[in-house]
């Protein structure tokens, strides 16, 4: 998924003023037309979800009925999910997404902090190298990754998925964190150091709290990307129980009879966490990108 946005050279607290009103006063009629266009657009974008949601509440027999609304609402499709095998796959997804987020946090934080605070030989080379790894796409490396993990005996293991998802999202995290740390004035940290907090005290009491919005954004991005990942999981897992939800849902397809209502119940459940997380950072994403270009 296209989570890999450009690394915003952000200044943390420069919130974007939501374009309050258009740049110039508009006649009333125009506002109405724009709003109408907006409602049509949002309907077009939401329509597939409505279809998915409604289908997830149908009974098996009424899947083929023509009526838009289900004749009876089968809420048990959503509750049955938790007793089906898919609950195990959701658990795998959760472990992979959490694991790779923790990995990215542990690995990217020191690198980003150090390269933002210190000038050292190879600093630019390091940052550019990290950025270039972002450009390589999974499919070109898939054979290499598969064979590598095969040698380690890590195929079909959750650790390989955690490592791969961590690696795929590391570059973005390093860049965004580096930008945040660089934007925090050194003097603040030094003042805290002189006040007797010690190096680590200064780091944990001053710098990290100030960089927290950046850290959270980077972590949520990693979590969403790992939660949604498909190709690597499809290649690296071989038994159904070890597959994350995205892969497991798709293995329903191609069976003799597809239980669309159960499939969509699973899809709805797989989608809700990502949407909540994305809603949390949405403003920050737009803000970060904008702040980058103002400079």
């Amino acid at each position: 998924m296209a989570v890999n946005t450009m690394p915003p050279r952000t200044r943390p607290h420069s919130h974007v003023r939501p374009a309050r009103g258009a740049p110039r006063r508009m006649p009333k009629l125009k506002t109405v037309i724009v709003a109408a266009a907006a409602y049509v657009i949002s309907f077009l974008f939401l329509f597939p979800y409505v279809v998915m949601l409604l289908t997830s509440l149908r009974s098996q027999d009424s899947l083929r009925e023509v009526s838009f609304w289900p004749e009876e609402w089968v809420w048990s499709n959503l509750t049955n999910f938790w007793t089906s095998g898919l609950a195990g796959n959701l658990w795998v997804t959760l472990k992979v997404a959490t694991g790779s987020t923790v990995l990215v946090l542990l690995v990217a934080l020191p690198a980003a902090y150090y390269s933002a605070r210190h000038r050292f030989r190879g600093r630019t080379a390091f940052l550019i190298l990290v950025l270039i790894t972002q450009m390589f796409q999974p499919t070109a490396m898939l054979v290499g990754i598969y064979r590598e993990f095969y040698q380690f005996g890590l195929v079909d293991s959750i650790w390989s998925l955690i490592l791969v998802n961590g690696g795929f999202n590391l570059a973005f995290a390093v860049w965004i964190l580096n930008a945040y740390f660089a934007s925090i004035p050194r003097e603040l940290e030094e003042a805290a150091f002189i006040d007797g907090n010690g190096r680590f005290g200064a780091l944990f009491r001053i710098t990290l709290p100030l960089a927290l919005p950046g850290v959270i954004t980077a972590l949520i991005f990693t979590f969403i990307a790992a939660w949604n990942e498909f190709v690597a999981a499809l290649t690296l897992t071989t038994t159904p129980e070890n597959q994350p939800l995205t892969v497991a849902l798709n293995s329903f397809i191609g069976q003799y009879q597809v239980d669309w209502q159960n499939l969509f119940a699973g899809s709805v459940i797989a989608t809700i966490p990502v949407i909540i997380l994305f809603a949390l950072i949405e403003r920050k994403v737009v803000g970060g990108l904008t702040a980058g270009s103002i400079k």
Binding site: A2, A38, F45, T139, N228, T271, V274, S293
Partner: protein, 306 residues
């Protein structure tokens, strides 16, 4: 920024802080990439040695694995990939700009609109693919609404259109997001000046909005190009693997890899990698100078102010 040679102790700290990142990237990106490139020149399996015994092993194959590059299946996949990229990126730019222009306006329910437009971007592609597969079924919602009997998800020309529609729905928000970010930094006095000069909305868009939003748009297009060239999930989920009409280069590579044809898979992977690198390079060369000059002029302005 001038790099001062670091004192000794510092370079150890640098190594300690940066090495975890380097190790993970080496394991997940660099080694697999190099290994795949090496593999693309080798062949493995069984063959008879000089005495007629079966030996198992790996030997240098030169460019033999690349032979498939000129064959019909690869050419077809390359054509599909290019077609999807051109069509979807073009559609996404037009829609994305339109969405950003609407999202910038103030009206009741704007927050809701923004959320509903941006959500598709966060949804797992695999789930989005399933959703559209259901909509595009033979007796599905799309055919019911249109009153047609099109086999959208069967191998054929309609499958191409289905993938394009689903992909545009999924990623136009991304372009819209980046363009919106670019729009929000255009100072409002520019528009006021244009209005005083009697500029029509049409002129304002082409002469002011578009040129000023260009840098943000170019970044969005670059990212979309690199992403679209490696598309895999949507055709795979929506239509299926090994379907001629929608098989992309990534799909072909995946298929060869699952058939344990590691040599050709690696060769195609290397070819795709080169293709993307060339496109990105040409794009940056053709339009990147513009981006740079933009940065330079901004810096100059900043200096003049100071």
């Amino acid at each position: 920024m001038r790099v001062r040679p670091a004192p000794r102790g510092q370079s150890w700290t640098a190594a300690a802080m940066l090495s975890p990142t380097m190790v993970v990237l080496a394991l997940v990106v660099l080694y697999p990439l190099v290994a795949a490139m090496r593999e693309s020149f080798y062949e493995s399996g069984q063959r008879l040695d000089a005495d007629g015994f079966v030996v198992e092993g790996e030997w240098f194959a030169g460019l033999a694995n690349y032979a498939g590059v000129v064959e019909q299946r690869f050419m077809n996949a390359a054509f599909n990939t290019t077609l999807f990229t051109v069509v979807t990126v073009a559609l996404e730019v037009v829609l994305g700009v339109a969405m950003a222009l609407v999202m910038r306006r103030a009206f009741r329910g704007r927050a809701f609109l923004r959320a509903s437009i941006l959500i598709p971007w966060a949804v797992p592609t695999a789930v989005a693919g399933l959703m559209w597969k259901w909509i595009f079924q033979a007796d599905g919602v799309a055919n019911t609404l249109l009153g047609t009997d099109i086999l959208w998800t069967a191998d054929g020309p309609w499958a191409k259109l289905a993938v394009v529609i689903a992909d545009t729905w999924k990623t136009a928000p991304f372009v819209g997001l980046l363009v919106l970010a670019g729009l929000q930094i255009i100072p409002s006095d520019v528009y006021e000046a244009a209005k005083v000069d009697g500029s029509t909305p049409w002129q304002t868009f082409w002469r002011i909005t578009l040129p000023l939003v260009r840098p943000a748009l170019l970044v969005a297009v670059l990212f979309r190009l690199m992403d679209a060239l490696r598309v895999f999930d949507l055709p795979y989920v929506l239509v299926g693997p090994r379907k001629q009409s929608v098989e992309t280069l990534s799909g072909l590579i995946w298929d060869e890899a699952t058939r344990v044809h590691y040599g050709p898979a690696s060769a195609y992977g290397t070819a795709l990698f080169c293709y993307i690198a060339v496109i990105a390079f040409v794009f940056v060369k053709l339009l990147g100078a513009d981006l740079l000059s933009d940065v330079r002029s901004r810096r100059r302005e900043a200096r003049d102010v100071a």
